[in-house]
Symmetry: C2
Subunit: 411 residues, 2 copies
């Protein structure tokens, strides 16, 4: 067996920088939620394009109300009503007002809106105003939401509901977003059977394909599950070769036992333009991870143990998918991690980063992180856990009562 130097997580992450983002594709706003913008978007016009009322009342010239109060109302002349969704038919001369509803366009000459609550109509033409308004009061000015030319949404933004609302307000019905990475998922192992097949003695069901596909979905990719292949070089070469055309990333799960550990390496090396970048990572669980390229296409060989595979997905594959999506903004820590207090000592071997499954439990004011112990072959330990605590490379362990950052599993 060849000797390979373990790579640190940081080293693997920096190797991922060689993979450029995928091309963009145009989608309608209805399909744009949770997609990543391929280009920055500037407003082509002011939003709104005119001064409008943001309260129901009367469009006025603010100075006509100065000094008005409950005991000294201003008397102004009603010259009409601003029809909703239409340009006012006339301008306001001094001393004149027009009825206006929220969203109505201010007539020329008007610079404020008096709320209906502070007025009383005396007949059809006269308005008593009991409160003065400042210029621009109760008005949304032209360009106050967005000024023409402003870039509020930059390339690499993952579009939230409000971002889509803003695009709609700017009159942009389609946007260029990064294509969803298509992720080939190949389960390997003579002992693995499909989940709906009967389970003969000695066989195991393929839990990884389903779990990895769901993680790919969660990160914004499109899973392409290719089923199970036996531990056989021909099958590996054929299946990996068949994905090179359609996949943006290839995931092989399994093949970390001695008998098969080199199958992934041999398979990769059998292709021209292939390179093993990483064979072994200083991470626990997940050490026997492989990162390779074939024809500039990334391939991850993931451990077969489901917990190991899922942790490597979260720590190493997710950043690659975000790169392929061009999500330039580093995910901010807020909202993804919580600080909790560790409920027991945890030992760790130095020289690797360890990820411990924890369950969160609130007790009075304290949020406790209870380690969920169990072998990395037990997927139930991931089901019982709410997140992961990281023990850094050179730390020999964490003590009960210590404050730890928990990366919470998100849907």
């Amino acid at each position: 067996m060849e000797f390979f130097q373990l790579h640190t997580i940081a080293e693997v992450l920096s190797l991922l920088e060689r993979f450029p983002p995928l091309e963009g594709e145009e989608v309608s706003l209805a399909a744009a939620w949770n997609r990543v913008l391929a280009h920055s978007v500037a407003a082509t016009a002011d939003v709104p394009e005119f001064d409008r009322a943001c309260m129901d009342g009367y469009a006025v010239r603010a100075r006509d109300t100065f000094g008005a109060g409950p005991g000294s109302p201003a008397w102004l002349t009603i010259v009409g009503e601003v029809a909703m969704g239409a340009a006012p038919r006339q301008a306001l001369a001094p001393g004149q007002v027009m009825r206006i509803a929220t969203g109505g366009m201010l007539p020329p000459g008007a610079d404020a809106v008096v709320m209906v609550e502070y007025t009383q109509e005396l007949g059809d033409q006269t308005l008593e105003v009991y409160r003065s308004v400042a210029p621009l009061e109760n008005v949304v000015q032209r360009g106050e939401d967005v000024q023409a030319g402003t870039v509020l949404l930059t390339a690499g933004t993952r579009l939230r509901a409000q971002d889509i609302g803003l695009l709609a307000a700017m009159g942009i019905p389609q946007v260029q977003v990064r294509r969803r990475p298509r992720v080939a998922i190949i389960a390997t192992g003579d002992e693995i059977v499909p989940i709906s097949a009967p389970l003969p003695p000695g066989k195991m069901r393929d839990a990884n394909s389903s779990a990895l596909a769901a993680q790919v979905q969660a990160y914004g990719g499109e899973p392409w599950p290719l089923g199970i292949i036996p531990d056989d070089l021909d099958a590996w070469q054929e299946t990996v070769g068949a994905t090179l055309e359609g996949a943006d990333l290839i995931l092989l799960s399994g093949g970390s036992s001695v008998g098969t550990r080199d199958l992934a390496v041999t398979t990769v090396r059998s292709f021209p333009q292939a390179e093993i970048l990483v064979h072994g990572v200083a991470i626990s669980p997940g050490k026997p991870t492989i990162l390779a390229t074939i024809d500039n296409k990334p391939l991850f060989g993931l451990p077969g143990h489901p917990v190991s595979a899922m942790v490597v997905m979260e720590i190493l594959v997710k950043p690659l998918l975000l790169r392929l999506l061009g999500q330039t903004e580093v995910e901010p820590g807020w909202g993804h991690t919580v600080t909790a207090r560790l409920s027991r000592n945890l030992a760790s071997a130095p020289g690797r980063e360890e990820f411990i499954r924890v369950r969160l439990r609130r007790e009075g004011e304290t949020l406790w992180a209870d380690p969920v112990l169990g072998k990395s072959g037990l997927i139930s330990t991931m089901v019982k856990a709410d997140g992961l605590v990281r023990i850094p490379l050179q730390i020999e362990g964490l003590e009960a009562g210590e404050a730890v950052e928990v990366t919470v599993f998100r849907i």
Copy 2:
């Protein structure tokens, strides 16, 4: 105009309890991610169904290794190899071992695995063992992942990747999940035009339909956008009537100006079996919110200002959608909120709960929440914000430097 008593947020939330979860539907595991389980799922068999190796090495009787060490190896007899994915062909007698790889089935008589690192083969038949193993060492026992009959996934769970992996491991290819609520979205207002139409003077583009549809997607519903209707009772009655068959929830956006405020109420009342439950909520922004039922179907009348509409969606409509989805587990606070320090004073009128848009900013060790000020008609303020800070009902404001909980906007 009729007088309506404002409802508190808590009162509205308790009124939502009258709406039962939707029926279940069967989906394959490939489509189950982020869906909500309709029934609890118990394991029908042990996982795994046999004791298996979780390391590469030799299946042994642990007691045969007791006392073994680097200077005093145990000599044992190799009687064959466990083929991957097959039942071993023979049992181990005392003093015997079999080669086994990770995932292999332990032969009868074996109760532990010695890692290959602590052994050396002397010829074909003899194994030197340099380290003793305890019973069950390097073995995943039958039922250690899940015991038959155990319920690890309960009704109301929103399925994460690991939950789907567990279902796969248990051999369950389909699950009953709650049907996605179909949410009719109706924009109203004479001044509103579709986003791709030209924008005549006095008109506004329909930002709300797109933003609300994205929020519905984010909460796990299925948006059913019905376009824009004018402020006209016939149009309202006809459009709302047309949704009663296919929608699980009806959202009307707009209609909060004086002229149209009662259109929603009049429309609702024109149907038999209709009831206005709430007309006005002690929330800011979002006060002119309506909650009604028609034929036991919920209808929300949302304010027209995009920020108000989006805040009401987050605070009131999302809980209703989670109810319709049967998501019984209260969303845990962890991972959705962060504690930050407010960077300026915020005043608030008592008697309503106020939600302030904030931007998060890290400065050294401190996470600051900078209020994003601006009228609730400005959707750009939501784009600039990372989350919301709540000022409770009876508080008159928050002071700069205070620690606040920020509910982070999630994709």
